[in-house]
Symmetry: none
């Protein structure tokens, strides 16, 4: 798919990359012209079109400096903007992602993490922990939990669980046992609790817990 490039287009992407690195925004066609010793804007457009056809860049027509370096955004693939869609607190139902809260760009708050932290999983959203009800799970007020949207988890996985009867949200290790469900706190010093299977509603798999200290922004 991606074709070999002759020297001129090659020179141009190079220039664009360096420009973005140094300036924080993409160059104009005329910037490229002067930067690559090209005397006409149309020549630049000509080559830009080639670059776009071959998948090196993405153009956003009619938009000033609307050049996006594709490899650069592939580079971005390592990073994830995770929407923080709500809070998780003892007595409140656990928010679940909907199509509109889903979009990181539309979300009021986002946290940026690497795929390292999400273990490469897709469909990750985040919740902010409110209150001290989950200290038994070693989760503190203000922590951020990265969640994967699933309705069931395997034994031993940590899940966000809604206990219908108690009307309570909690984060616990989940074990389906004969006729019962065992919920084990992350803190191994704590005793597990046993509940009826139809009393538990798995709202998501806990992937990561993040606690930040120091001044916020």
């Amino acid at each position: 798919m991606v074709k070999e490039l002759s020297s001129k287009p090659q020179q141009i992407i190079n220039f664009i990359c360096r420009f973005v690195e140094n300036r924080g925004y993409p160059p104009t066609i005329r910037d490229i012209a002067s930067g690559c010793a090209i005397s006409s804007t149309s020549v630049v457009k000509y080559n830009l079109d080639i670059l776009e056809r071959n998948g090196y860049i993405r153009r956003h027509g009619e938009i000033a400096r609307g050049i996006e370096i594709v490899t650069h955004s592939a580079h971005f693939k390592y990073r994830l903007l995770v929407p923080v869609i709500g809070q998780i607190a003892a007595g409140k139902p656990i928010p679940v992602p909907t199509s509109d809260t889903w979009d990181a760009a539309a979300s009021a708050e986002t946290i940026e993490v690497t795929r390292d932290l999400t273990r490469g999983r897709e469909g990750i959203y985040a919740l902010r922990v409110k209150g001290w009800s989950m200290v038994d799970a070693l989760v503190s007020d203000g922590d951020i939990v990265l969640m994967e949207y699933v309705n069931a988890v395997d034994n031993g996985e940590v899940a966000a669980i809604w206990l219908k009867a108690e009307r309570e949200a909690t984060l616990k290790k989940f074990y389906a046992e004969a006729g019962k469900v065992r919920l084990q706190p992350a803190n191994t010093r704590m005793k597990p609790i046993y509940v009826e299977p139809d009393n538990v509603e798995v709202q998501g798999r806990v992937v990561t817990v993040i606690r930040q200290f120091g001044s916020g922004r």
Copy 2:
């Protein structure tokens, strides 16, 4: 230097950041206006000027989309490879970074995070928590703590502390009080402990705690 911001400019940088993330190029003043529910371009410029005065962004006047997010700019690499230089456990001295453990490339293990998690701080290294001695600090076995290499912390900051007499490592909120040092666990249910000032050795500031679930545990 960097001043606190009121809501509107805050909202604007947020928008700019997300825009750049998603589109690969900065927004126009009008993009910002519509994205932040501002009805006049001049209001945007007004706030942009504030942001620039306070060092959050850099403007390039007369240039289309010439907005550069300072924290995200040139010298700022989004991703950070943090070296995991050792373990932190109750009875073992806390490892401190040296010139050779320092280099992420040379380190045996690294964790990749975004600057978001390190709050833009420099000189970050990581330690893996071994054992259950720090559950009182809401830190569990296997957690990773991101540390900043400092020899002193301000009151209220969470520090990695080596208690010389007890030969014990711990993570606690640090408060210097008259003639004493108060060490407060992150778990507010727990009582603080008081120690002699010359018994404490601050080995670093705790920036972030990360706990991952699922595979690899």
